[in-house]
């Protein structure tokens, strides 16, 4: 528990630093490109288009999911994946990828995953906004259920930070972790019902829900479309937060225990 307190205090003491560094993180990402923001929009749009064609028309023949147009169902889950799922490899890389920058000074290393995640978060907020508009265009107007965003978005951020804290510490000491994460994420993308609808089989759905990302993806759909998933799955919520708590506990312990050696390991 002490380790969690240490990490949380560090984050709290360096909020402004995290904010500024996240802006510089974005800036240095785009400094090489002429059309930085254009690609931010273009890459996900192209991905959505491909999934829509392949899964929506190719496999489902254009049929809706429980009455929800497939493209809306796809996009509302996919944006959660773009942020949390794709954020995991980035979070894993966060510390050892930036150690050159901090190796000449004493620096609170637990803030690195935080500002790397925050740098991705701005884009994510824009995407949520666009998706809410898309939903409205399909007739799913914002309502009380939209307020669930204020629950599920922070849940995704906290999950991503906890996991990044653990994985970045491991990857700094054992670089192979990065490869494991990259391959796992590729599999997880298909093991999470983002592009396909799980069949109505009780045991199969239970097994699928072991993956906490399912909670986040379905939570986003619940908030944007109003599927009611979050309200109907309170116990799954308890499971989700237990997993997050466990990851944070182990992650903070590993981070605090080994960070004094990070510089030596790089």
């Amino acid at each position: 528990m002490n380790a969690i307190q240490t990490v949380l205090k560090e984050l709290k003491d360096h909020l402004y630093l995290i904010f500024r560094l996240s802006l510089y993180e974005m800036k240095s990402q785009y400094s090489m490109q002429y059309l930085g923001w254009f690609w931010e929009i273009m890459t996900p749009l192209l991905q959505i288009a491909v999934y829509w064609v392949v899964f929506g028309f190719g496999i489902r023949g254009g049929s809706p999911v429980d009455g929800i147009p497939f493209v809306l169902w796809l996009v509302s889950g996919l944006i959660a994946w773009f942020f949390v799922g794709s954020g995991i490899p980035g979070g894993t890389r966060s510390i050892y990828g930036r150690v050159a920058l901090v190796s000449k000074m004493h620096f609170p290393l637990s803030t690195i995953p935080a500002y790397v995640i925050l740098a991705q978060f701005y884009r994510h907020v824009a995407m949520i906004f666009l998706t809410v508009i898309l939903a409205a265009a399909f007739g799913y107007l914002p309502g009380w259920h939209t307020l669930q965003l204020f629950y599920i978005v922070p849940a995704g951020v906290i999950f991503l930070y906890a996991l990044s804290l653990l994985l970045s510490a491991l990857a700094t000491m054992i670089r192979d972790v990065q490869n494991v994460v990259t391959s796992s994420i590729r599999m997880l993308m298909y093991l999470t019902p983002i592009m396909w609808v799980p069949p109505d089989h009780e045991l199969f759905r239970m097994l699928l829900m072991i993956n906490p990302l399912v909670y986040i993806v379905e939570g986003y759909r619940s908030a944007i479309i109003g599927t009611g998933f979050l309200m109907e799955h309170v116990w799954y919520g308890v499971y989700f937060w237990s997993v997050v708590g466990l990851i944070l506990f182990v992650g903070a312990a590993v981070h605090v225990r080994f960070r004094r050696y990070f510089i030596d390991y790089v």
Partner: protein, 283 residues
């Protein structure tokens, strides 16, 4: 008052035969490899207002010492006490290549714990000191190595640390810049700050250090007034040059072997940072 105190400090690295041994150490804490002491049983203390030159041939532990002084890495054994904030200036001074010089000033200032306001105050001084003209608004990757050193030095010195560690950073600057830096460092010393100056330029060390520490194979060979130590060090360099090759090889081999021997075990390594306003301990 003493600004920096080292008590029986050792820094050990482990040389692994196979990468898997390193993994085992992380997982089980069992050391499986050859120990190598970058620094071994180092004890010294330095008063405020001193400029300490650190000399020694390649691989004698100078850069490891600079990292301990800057609290970048913790010692394996012993206690390092630093009274005040320390800053390390090295050739690769931790600038972000993608960002402009101006952005780097803010970035580095923030990372060193300054507020936005403090950074705004020192920015003009940094610009003036670095003197790189319009390049300040260009990405750092377009800089020459001299320009990089100028900017790195200007930032670090204006952040106003209590302990300044300069690791070879002046060797890439031209004569005028070196002079400027040396002047600034003298001013620093007169304000009661402590400077550690690592250099292979013996004339610079002689010209401007009040004390010199001579490291050899991870241990302090001599530490004292500049003239005395430099005379000894010069003799050593000559001796090294004159000795027949085989004898040198024997000497080096013996010293290297000694370096793998265990250091005197003292307390588990820790770095204590003290300041007047608050006393915080970081292990």
């Amino acid at each position: 008052m003493e600004h920096v105190v080292f008590e029986n400090v050792s820094k050990r690295y482990v040389l692994y035969d196979k990468p898997i041994d390193k993994l085992k150490e992380v997982l089980f804490g069992k050391i499986n490899g050859k120990a190598f002491y970058a620094l071994k049983n180092i004890s010294f203390s330095v008063e405020e207002g001193e400029i300490v030159g650190i000399v020694g041939i390649n691989g004698s532990g100078k850069s490891t010492l600079s990292q301990l002084l800057a609290n970048v890495t913790p010692p394996t054994y012993g206690r390092v006490t630093l009274r005040g904030k320390s800053a390390l200036i090295a050739i690769s001074s931790g600038l972000n290549n993608q960002l402009t010089g101006r952005d780097n000033i803010e970035l580095k200032g923030l990372m060193m714990g300054l507020t936005k306001k403090q950074i705004d105050v020192i920015t003009p001084d940094i610009l003036e000191f670095a003197d790189i003209g319009d390049f300040i608004d260009q990405p750092v990757k377009t800089y020459s190595s001299g320009m990089r050193a100028r900017l790195g030095f200007a930032i670090s010195i204006n952040i106003d640390p209590d302990i300044l560690v300069i690791d070879e950073a002046l060797s890439v600057g031209d004569q005028t810049f070196t002079e400027k830096c040396l002047d600034k460092m003298r001013e620093f010393r007169d304000r009661g700050k402590t400077i550690f100056f690592i250099s292979h330029s013996l004339s610079q060390v002689r010209q401007f250090c009040s004390k010199v520490m001579w490291l050899e194979y991870g241990e302090i060979r001599e530490f004292g007034p500049t003239e005395e130590v430099m005379a000894e060090y010069n003799k050593y360099l000559h001796w090294h040059k004159q000795m027949p090759k085989r004898q040198i090889t024997d000497y080096v081999t013996r010293k290297r072997q000694e370096r793998g021997n265990e250091a005197v075990e003292s307390i588990r390594g820790e770095t204590v940072v003290e300041s007047e306003s608050d006393r915080r301990i970081s292990s």
